[in-house]
Chain length 132, copies 2
Amino acid sequence: MSQSLTQTRYTISEVEARTGLTQHTLRWYERIGLMPHVDRSHSGQRRFTDKDLGWLAFVGKLRATGMSVADMVRYAELVREGEHTVDERRALLEHTRREVRARLAELTDALGVLDRKIEMYAMNTNTGKAQS
Amino acid sequence: MSQSLTQTRYTISEVEARTGLTQHTLRWYERIGLMPHVDRSHSGQRRFTDKDLGWLAFVGKLRATGMSVADMVRYAELVREGEHTVDERRALLEHTRREVRARLAELTDALGVLDRKIEMYAMNTNTGKAQS
DNA sequence: TACTTGCTTGGAGTGCACTCCAGGGTTTTA
DNA sequence: TAAAACCCTGGAGTGCACTCCAAGCAAGTA
């Protein structure tokens, strides 16, 4: 079960470069409980691990689904609480999935409207017919 | 070119019921220039037409694309300015379309991550194996 | 050692898209 | 006609997700 003793540790600016999240946002994520507690150097500076980077990548995907920060924090809390929360975690993710599917349908529909409108403008350019 | 003389006119609460937009939002849309000027009764109350409803439906589609209110206002201004703005209108819509396509790709990717995570939780429920 | 750059904190500020309020006039119903 | 319901305006307030600030400590370089 033992890990490599030379585990890579990243400063906050390295994590900023790798994730695209600002230092402000990274500190804020930790403050609101969206990060598992991050290691510190002897002087108190954050030292992120590859595991932290993995978590941030997953959080990025959750953000991309449109999940609210409050729900992401709830999910992070459940992870910290341990194995007995897997049912609630799955329920949260399934709820998010339903919302993503609805959003995809809505977005696809709106894309169709956009396509038709753009097509009308293209015709308009050729014929000079009026429209809004 | 003449229209029916008995054109249906809707009060703000009727439009609220039909569109799902609140009265506050409808007034705000008008204030910021997102509506063509709405008719008024002799006493100054708004009287929306079917054309207004059509515009609101289109605006709803633009909202669904994720277009900002500022860009929707810009689009509404261009419509008011007349036919010579069709190129800029089309450019605005094409820009929005590119963003919608990017968002669809991002959302589809995030959905895949969600699917895999949920599947892992389903397995976990059966096997008792640990994970985050 | 001096200087520059980087990191720390709690708290304040920002931009967006609404959302609501106060105070008053209008329209409909009993 | 009186009460209830509806609508008006300018401006203030809200919730979200950051984003920035001040003041100070720490680390790396000439």
